[in-house]
Every structure is written in C-alpha cells, then in structure tokens.
C-alpha cells in the first residue's frame, strides 16, 4: 500500500495504491489524522489503484467522517473500481460519502 499526496490550492488529493487492509490502514489513518488536513476545502481520494479495502480500511474513513463534516471539508472518492465500490455500497457508505466516477467530476463538486 502506497499513499501519495498532491496538494493544490484548497484541494488535497490522496492517491491510494495497493490493498488497504488492517496493517496499511494505520498508514492512511496517520495521514488523515493530521490537523492541517482540515484546512483544505476538499480532500479527494483517488481509488484507481485501490484493489481491495478491508473493514479496517473502511473504519479509517468512517472514523474521520464526522470531523471532516464538522470542519466543512468535503471528502470525495473517485475512479473507484467496481468491487471496491461494491464494498462501500453493501455497508451503505455510498449514501453517506460522495463517490464520483472521474477526477473531473470530483474537482467540479
């Protein structure tokens, strides 16, 4: 699992590469827990290379959902693979989080 950051203006893009499981979710959690992340307007998560997400991986997003909402930071997922999207959908997260097909739509929101 690799997490790459791209920051521009008010938008932070995190590119996830690999499998987000119990061990790699710790890495992502430290990124999302940084206080300066709440200064951005939008945090975009590029899921193109995200092959698998475990419940621990989902837990990371869930645990930061409230603080993002409270700070008015939009969390947007894009380029999500079918099977990863299915996991979000089964858990009902698609109704809570913004998931869009492409990067263009993600920035447009």
């Amino acid at each position: 699992m690799k997490v790459t950051q791209q920051a521009s203006d008010n938008i932070l893009t995190l590119i996830l590469d690999g499998e987000l499981d119990a061990s790699s979710s710790v890495l992502l959690d430290t990124e999302l827990a940084k206080p300066e992340i709440l200064n951005y307007q939008k945090v975009l998560i590029d899921c193109q290379r995200l092959n698998y997400i475990s419940s621990a991986g989902l837990g990371v997003f869930i645990s930061h959902l409230q603080s993002f909402q409270d700070a008015g930071v939009k969390l947007v997922f894009f380029n999500m693979q079918e099977k990863v999207h299915n996991v979000f959908e089964i858990l009902g997260l698609d109704a809570l989080m913004t998931i869009v097909p492409s990067a263009a739509e993600a920035t447009a929101i």
Binding site: D29, S55, G59, I62, G92, L93, A95, L96
Partner: protein
C-alpha cells in the same frame, strides 16, 4: 593359545626352576663336603641359570597387566613401596639374621650365607623387574607411537646384555664401556618422560615425593648389600649378571630420581594448577545453574561468589541495572560510601561502562584522593549485544594484584551470566505467552458457548448453520429467538476487525439482541410488542455509540419470520446481501436493499438510513445468509469467491435439503480456497421453507 601365551605361562615354572638350579649350584660351591660328593658344577651352569632366572622374572612381570590403573599414579607408587619395598626389608632382615647366626656359630660353614645370598639375589631381581615395569607404565602414559617403539628397543637391548656373560669370550673393555654407556644414556633419555606428574594435585605431589624417596631407599639397601657382599671372601659363586643388573638398577634409580625432582620442582606451581582447576569448576557450576533454570538473583549471586573466589579479590560489589535504576546487588568487604565514590570517579573518567583494569590505583591522583586501602581494580560490565545488565567491580589491596588472565576468566563468567539471564528472561516470556494462549483458549470456549448449539426446529422450515473463526476468537455472530405467535427472529452480524476486540463487541451485540427482543408490556398494539427490524437496528445503533471505538463498526441483518402467515420482514444494516431462491419464479437473486452499518453514524439520523423489507415466502424457497468471510475468501491467485459464484451454487443446489445445500457450498468454497489460510471469520446459514402444515395437536 598362541606361542606368546604359552611362553607367558612358562615364565613362572621357569623362574622357580632356574632359581632352584641357582641355589643348588651356589650351595655346591659353598660347601666343600657336598661338592666332594657331587662335584663342583661348571660356571656356565650358574651363569645360565642366572640369565634364565632374570629373563623369566622380567618376562613374567612384562606379561602382567599394566600396573597403572586409570590415572591413579599415587596408587601405583604406593603398591611399589608396599610390595617390593617389603622385599628390601626381608633382604635386610635375612642379612641381619645371617650376621647373628654367623656371630653365634663362628664356623666356617658358608651354607647359610650362600642361601641368604641366593634368596636376596632373587628378591632383588624381582624388585628390579617390578620397578622397571612400573616405570614403563609411567613412561608410556599417553606416549606417542615413537616412544613406544623406543621403549621396545630399550628392552631388547637390555635383554642382549644378558648374553654378555654367557659367551666365554671376554669382550675388551673399550667395547663394553661405550655400549653400556650408550645404553645408560638411552635410559637417561627415557627418564625424561615424566608427563604423569602434571596430573597430580598438590597433595598427591607431596605423597609422590615421599613414596619415590621410599623406593630409592629400598633400592639403596639392595645395592649396598650387594656391593658389600661382593667384597666378602665367603662368596664363592661366580660374579652375577653384571651388565644387565647395573643397567636396570641405573635406569630404575635414575627414573625415580628424575621423577622425584620433577615432582619436587612442580610443587610450587601446583597451586596455579589447582587455581585453574577451581576456575574450570566455577565455570561448570555457572553453566549447570543455567540449565537448572534458577532465578536471576541466584545467577547473580553465583557470578559474584565465583568471581570473588577465582580472582581472590579483597573487596567487590555488583551493580545491576534494571529499568534504568542501578541497584547494588552484592557487596563484599566494602562500605557503600567507598563504592559510590569509586563509581562516581570512574564515571568522571568516562570508564563506567567498559572493561577496565588498573593495577596501580595510587598512581592516579583521583584514586589517591579517595584514600582507599586498595591498589588494584577490575571493572567488568555485564553486557549483551542488546542491553547492559550491570557492572562487576573487584578490588585488591596488593599492587599488580590482577592480571590479564583474571580479566579473560571474568569475561567468560560475565558472558555466561548474561547468557543465563537472557535465557531466564526468554523462558519467562514464553511462559507468559503460554498463559495468554491458555486464556485465549478459554475465551474461545466462552465465545463458542455464545453461539447457539440447538437450532430451532419446526416442521415449517429447516435450518443449517456453519461458523468458523479465523483466530481463536472471532467477530462473527448469529442467534435465534422464538417470539410468540409462531415467529422466529434470526440475527446475523460481523464486527469489523478480528480477534479479542471483535469478540467483545460480538458478545455485546448478542446481549443487545436479547435485551431489545423482549416483549414490551406497554405496547398499545400487538405489532409494537416487539421492535420491527429497522427499529431494532436504530436502537442497537444508539446502544453501541458509547462502547464502540471510532473506527469500528458492526454489520448485521435481522430477520423476523412469521411462519403462521408465511412471510418475513428484515432489515439490513450494512451486512451482506441476502441470497434467495424463489420457488415460484424458479430464480435465484439477491435482495439488494439499502441500509447503513451500525456505529457509522452515531446520532438520531441513523434511522433514515435503515429500511424494512417485507416478503411473502413460498414453500421450497431457500434463504442463504452469510458473512463476508464467505464471499471474500481468496483463491491462490488472490481472486475472491464472490457473490456470483455463491449464487451459481444455489442455482445448482436449491432442491436439496438445507443441510445438503450448506455442505455443497462449503465444499465448493474449500475447493476454491484450497491451501490458502482463512483470513476472516466465516458464517453461513441456510434456511429452507417447507409447505405450511398445521401445528400438530391443533
């Protein structure tokens, strides 16, 4: 029996026979009366008898088993003194007796004198043979093959000298002297082999010196006797086997003298050997303690005692570092103030944590200022590659009291100690681990008791279940509850994460299920007596808010089956979709309903994210409920089992009984993920509805 063995058995009779011949011939020489009757035997008979006797005695002794038993050198010497030494006493006794007899009867009869002479000659030869072969076993102790060959040559050459007197031709002196001298030199050379002395301890060496002195004395007695007898005008027998006897006497004496001197000069160093022995024994004791697995305290005490004893320190103390606190563990002849002062001084010099030897403390102004009575100091840290266990300090009053040897032996002690301490700690850790394993086993059996063993049975449906945890305890759960009015509640769920935390929440969820599914006595209508699934989920969500950590969530599905009316209602809180076989439509599909997992939204708004779904079932319908451990099971190529393959399995097996459907699905799953470890808990429930039948007895 080989020729050699035959020869060996012949030695004893030959010895006796030749001695008798010798005696008779001497008597004939001594007594003119007898001689006139039997005639004087020629000299060659006497000489041959002598030679045969000597050869037989030596041969007999040679054939005896080795006199040395193990490394009992002192025992060998003792036997030498007690046995042949006694012969010397007998010899002196006989001689004195003979003197007394001569004194009383000053006759000219030399018979008795001749008998004593012959007996003494026999005793002397036996003494020599015994001594020589005792020396042989000492010379050949751990000897090289070369030395063994040399010894054999020595024996052969000595044997040859026996023949000297048998040949009537007298060798010229310039020939015999160098030959004898060379042989004597050979004996001197062999006498250099005194390896055995090194194996004696101090006490044994002292004893060996005394015993060797006694042997030399016995030898002197014999030699003195014979030297004296030679001058005696009464001796009429031809001169004895000179060359051989002189050589063996010379060798036996020389070896004894050499041995005596070597032992004597080894006495002062015996203490050093003993000390080395003591060091080795201390090391062994330390090593044995390790294997017995004693406490750390005992190991440290053992190190301290051994170190102080071995280097003969006048004062010492041992500091042990435990979790960054230094405690003085053991103290010997030193005041606390002094030890603190020395430690501080060493720290000032930056010498606290390294091996350090100072044999002249008063040369350093710092130590002189402390005004200590000690002149030498060793600092020896107890250290492994990973950590520092403490430091050992040893002091001596004597200048130059310690040496490099002491340092290396202490290094061995400390590294042994560190090894044993680490062993003990490892052992303690593995015991702790075992205890945790044991507790996990208990947790596992407790959790097992939370999973229903007796499935509900009724003639309206059949249920089959399967549960398998990836670790000792898991986060999957399912439960049943009979509700009044021929209704059955089924709960299935999965706590995010695995292991002990998940197991706790799973138990919590079971409690919530049983608490919420109680009949509400205040309910206004029949419908409100039990919460509908969506209501149950939102109540459970509220209950979980306070005890579920932020990143954890629970997925669950609750089904309430009303088999009176042939329908069911369910709500899905983020759990896997329900797989269903519709017997009327002859079709397998998933109920794809919306619904959010528990613990994701932690306020009242959760209610908006959960829905109820109603369905009227028909006889022959099959419902498959499972957790994600089933559909996310992986094959060797990392692909997932998936919803599609599960659906295909039901399409192939819907007509079977619930049990058989479950077995077929599990078999297919095992086939799919063969050789792969189970990475998540797996739960599978199969419910098959049957044609409604009236309740028996109604």
């Amino acid at each position: 029996m080989t020729i050699r063995q035959k020869l060996e058995t012949a030695f004893l009779p030959l010895m006796l026979l030749s001695w008798m011949v010798l005696l008779v011939s001497t008597l004939l020489h001594a007594s003119p009366a007898a001689a006139s009757r039997f005639g004087i035997p020629p000299n060659w008979i006497t000489l041959t008898a002598q030679a045969v006797f000597v050869a037989a005695v030596f041969g007999y002794q040679r054939a005896q088993p080795n006199l040395l038993r193990g490394t009992d050198f002192v025992g060998l010497l003792r036997r030498l003194v007690l046995g042949p030494g006694l012969l010397a006493t007998v010899c002196v006794g006989l001689h004195l007796l003979e003197r007394v007899v001569q004194f009383k009867h000053a006759a000219t009869d030399r018979t008795f004198f001749a008998i004593v002479y012959t007996v003494n000659l026999g005793l002397f030869v036996i003494f020599l043979a015994f001594t020589n072969y005792a020396w042989r076993s000492l010379v050949l102790f751990r000897a090289s093959e070369r030395l063994q060959r040399e010894w054999l040559w020595f024996e052969v050459l000595l044997g040859v000298t026996l023949l000297f007197r048998l040949i009537s031709w007298q060798f010229p002196l310039y020939f015999t002297l160098p030959v004898l001298g060379a042989l004597a030199f050979f004996g001197v050379y062999l006498s250099g082999n005194q390896k055995w002395v090194a194996y004696l301890n101090r006490r044994q060496k002292l004893e060996a010196v005394l015993l060797q002195g006694a042997i030399l004395m016995s030898m002197t007695i014999f030699v003195a006797y014979f030297l004296r007898i030679e001058q005696d005008p009464r001796l009429v027998a031809p001169a004895s086997q000179h060359a051989f006897l002189v050589l063996t006497v010379f060798f036996a004496t020389f070896y004894a003298v050499m041995g005596l001197l070597v032992t004597l000069f080894n006495l002062p160093t015996a203490g050093v050997f003993e000390q080395k022995r003591e060091e080795i024994l201390s090391l062994q004791r330390l090593t044995q303690l390790i294997q017995r697995g004693q406490t750390e305290e005992e190991v440290y005490a053992m190190l301290f005692d051994s170190a102080v004893q071995t280097v003969e320190a006048d004062a010492a103390w041992l500091d042990i570092l435990e979790e960054d606190t230094l405690t003085t563990y053991q103290r010997h002849n030193i005041a606390e103030a002094d030890s603190v002062a020395i430690r501080r001084l060493l720290a000032d010099y930056n010498l606290g944590q390294i091996e350090y030897l100072n044999n002249d403390l008063n040369n350093s102004s710092g130590f002189r200022a402390l005004g200590l009575e000690f002149e030498a100091l060793i600092v020896m840290p107890l250290r492994s590659t990973k950590r520092n266990y403490g430091t050992l300090y040893l002091l001596k009053r004597q200048r130059q009291g310690f040496d490099r040897e002491n340092m290396s032996i202490l290094q061995t002690f400390t590294s042994q100690t560190v090894l044993s301490i680490e062993n003990l700690q490892l052992m303690a850790r593995s015991i702790q681990n075992e205890r945790v394993q044991e507790e996990l086993k208990i947790a596992s059996s407790v959790q097992d008791s939370l999973i229903p063993k007796n499935l509900p049975t009724d003639n309206w449906f059949e249920i089959s279940s399967h549960a398998l945890a990836a670790k000792e305890v898991g986060g999957d759960f399912y439960d049943f509850l009979h509700l009044p009015g021929r209704r059955l509640a089924i709960l299935i769920g999965d706590v995010s994460g695995k292991g002990v935390t998940a197991a706790f929440h799973m138990a919590q969820m079971k409690g919530i299920f049983h608490a919420l599914m109680q009949e509400n006595p205040l309910a206004r209508s029949e419908r409100e007596k039990f919460p509908v699934p969506s209501k149950f989920m939102s109540m459970a969500n509220t209950a979980l808010v306070h005890c579920l950590e932020k990143s954890s969530f629970i997925t669950a599905s609750l089904y309430i089956i009303d088999y009176e009316h042939g329908g069911f209602v369910f709500a899905r809180a983020g759990h896997c979709h329900t797989l269903y076989y519709h017997s009327i439509k002859e079709e397998v599909s998933y109920f794809r309903t919306a619904g959010l997992g528990l613990g994701i939204i932690r306020n009242e708004s959760y209610e908006r994210h959960i829905k109820n779904q109603f369905y009227d079932y028909n006889p022959g319908d099959v419902m498959v409920i499972y957790t994600d451990g089933i559909v996310e099971a992986r094959a060797a190529d990392q692909s997932e089992y998936g919803e599609e393959r599960l659906k295909q399995m039901l399409e192939r097996t819907y007509y079977l009984s619930a049990d058989e459907i479950k077995t077929q699905i599990l078999d297919d799953l095992a086939e799919f993920s063969r050789g792969q470890p189970i990475h998540d808990d797996q739960t599978l429930l199969v419910i098959k509805f049957r044609a409604s039948q009236p309740e028996p007895g109604i």
